[in-house]
Symmetry: C2
Subunit: 420 residues, 2 copies
């Protein structure tokens, strides 16, 4: 029997256990700062698989001084990074399999049909915050490794599984793993690509814009300047900037993406008192960065846009909005579409799905930028689940895709690392 | 020597003490829930004046069940209302002198030139949160009473001085005073009218509008619906409604007021995460109500406006914004311009200032609505300070106006209550 057939059958035979494992991971809600119990589930699994474990609290190894470090936290105690290595016999290429364990907040629980941390299964879908982004992908990685181990397939190169924290907030977990020495000949990150191959990843960074007004009694509001109204001027300009920037994107990999590098307006806070004219408004959001763009150049475009907004309004001219670049920051990634890791993944995909994969550029940043730029490791992002479901209410993953991805990745591991 | 001359000279002679008293009141910052130490200053003064004191924690007397009760608090312990009565000899008309002790929050302290609770004096102005709204006016009342008492002028009617809490949040303090039995033949409220006479007061009420979006990852924001963008649609509609409503105001008393019944956008909060599309936005503000308008009818106009906003947008059509009427609620007041209290105040004004007062309708609500509607007490709002400075940074009051107002009110008291 061919290796692929064996892996396929192993995955079929272990389907129930695999689903239960994913369910357990989702049930251990791992919003930022609360990742430890989900990491404990990962650690237990890796221990059972006999992997060489490295569990550490990040924040050392000059992490915080590194130029690519980006976090509003400096203390990460209590929620470790996990690396688990399947040692090869030697002579093969090494492969990092990277998943993040942190999930974004669940939002308004009343909007969820089921408890956001239930892991409930309906019609072949498993529901819950983090199911798609990206515990489903992480489970695909571990199933692929477990299949190889269980079938006693001997690899030549090392497989370095990583379950990192802080991806949603700037990638400090993956950066810490790089600084700890974990680099490789290639890497796969199974973020929810809807099983498309993403050799390029959009970078992104967070901005905070502060808009001043002048307070007054709401009953004579014409004597003040409403910071919310002025923030609306700024938001309109950001919407224009988004259009201009996206019109410049010509990479055919983005041809199916409505807005390749979005500028998201993520938060606004203004005002303390219904009867007062608010004197300050703070807008926070995320700016997409093209794969081949410098972070600095994107920053400058937004800064110029704010200058233009200020020029368009007599109040803003005297009280120009200010921008800070804070918190999350993800470097873009830009792998050649013909890189061998791409070819191997495409071949494995075809073997499992009977058709060629769709190749696109990711509409969002991942830890791939840090792995490739600071770790010099070629990265392909490829995983189960749809981006649409990530960060949304009623987040879910189609269970079948988790297993198909596991099979494809198992084949790619064997091909990339080599077998004895 | 004429009574006016004596009062004028007494106020001149006691100018320094009066200023020091105002300074002390401003220094006892009395934002909501923290009124007790400023009330202690008031109580001490009233005790020295030999007034009959009534100090009580509001919330009893069926206050909370009263239809005009409007507050998001139900427990007011620790910050009492103060009423202090100068008993007349009988046979005269009674007069309520009403000031509120609560002040709005100071906002961003960095925007203040001086500490917002310093009471600092520069060029004849006294600075600080509450100086204009309305501790300056309260000091005018107490100076007027102190002058009359010190000069041993015997009044026939009672003067009922009130220092109430909660004016900025819906008037529960004044309502509690009414329910305790404090009504009178007339009332003066020295809110900052810039020494104009306001026989009519605008009512107002707070609204909270909730706008739904649909969350998504910011990198594929086109798959979500941004609640902030939808909130901007709603805000634009509120701006249109404000225009329509104000175009209908024909009362000549409002001819000098740019926006007689404003709709203030006081707060907006939306979003939890810069990289997510926000799924909910909450707008809070204050809607002005015309003197002769029913509160209910104003509510309905805003509700219809939201329906129109929903009709204008396919997402909002399916997810209509919702409004709640919460917190502050001030009944409008509508006194005849030829009421005797108006004539007496106008005459006193002319005696002191040598010119006729300006008569306008107030661009904001006061406790006058409660006093007149639930207490059946005719109210004129007249006081030192400009509305523009109220609720603003660097709030100040022109000290000279405090003393001029004290003199005018002292004359009006004698005329209204009668002297022996």
């Amino acid at each position: 029997m061919q290796a692929q057939q064996k892996i396929h059958e192993w995955l079929e035979a272990n389907r129930h256990r695999g689903i239960r494992f994913l369910q357990q991971l989702v049930q251990e809600g791992s919003t930022r700062g609360n990742e430890s119990s989900a990491q404990a589930v990962i650690i237990e699994k890796c221990r059972k698989l006999g992997l060489v474990l490295d569990i550490w609290e990040i924040g050392k190894d000059h992490l915080i001084e590194h130029p690519a470090f980006c976090s509003d936290r400096k203390d990460f105690a209590g929620n470790p990074n996990v690396v688990a290595i399947l040692k090869g016999t030697g002579g093969g290429k090494s492969l990092i399999l990277n998943g993040h364990i942190d999930v974004v907040p669940e939002g308004d629980r009343n909007d969820w049909e089921y408890d956001p941390f239930s892991g409930r299964i309906e019609n072949g879908k498993l529901y819950g915050r983090g199911s798609t982004d990206m515990k489903g992908g992480t489970v695909s990685l571990l199933l692929a490794m477990e299949a190889i181990i269980s079938l006693r397939i001997k690899l030549r190169g090392n497989v370095i599984f990583q379950s990192v924290i802080e991806e949603e907030s700037g990638g400090a977990g993956t950066l810490a793993a790089v600084l700890r020495g974990y680099t490789a000949d290639g890497a796969i990150i199974p973020e929810p690509t809807n099983m498309k191959l993403f050799p390029k990843q959009q970078g992104s960074m967070w901005y905070r814009i502060t808009v001043k007004g002048r307070s007054a009694h709401g009953g004579t509001r014409y004597e003040g300047v409403n910071a919310i109204e002025k923030a609306m001027v700024v938001i309109s300009k950001l919407q224009e900037l988004e259009k201009t920037r996206n019109n410049k994107i010509t990479d055919p990999l983005y041809s199916q993406v409505p807005i390749p590098i979005p500028i998201n307006i993520g938060k606004i806070n203004s005002g303390e008192w219904p009867s007062s004219v608010p004197d300050i408004a703070v807008i926070e959001g995320r700016m997409g960065v093209a794969p081949n763009e410098e972070m600095k150049s994107a920053e400058q475009e937004l800064e110029v846009c704010l200058k233009e907004a200020a020029e368009s309004d007599s109040w803003l001219k005297k009280n120009p909005p200010k921008v800070e670049w804070f918190g999350g920051r993800w470097l873009p990634g830009d792998l050649d579409e013909n890189h061998p890791l791409m070819s191997i993944l495409a071949k494995s995909f075809e073997a499992v799905k009977g058709k060629q994969p769709i190749v696109e550029a990711s509409p969002w940043g991942t830890d791939g930028g840090i792995l490739s730029k600071t770790g010099n490791t070629p990265v392909v992002v490829f995983g189960p689940g749809v981006t649409k479901a990530a960060h949304d209410v009623n987040e879910y993953i189609i269970i079948q895709e988790v297993f198909e991805t596991a099979e494809i990745i198992a084949l790619a591991i064997m091909e990339w690392c080599g077998t004895n």
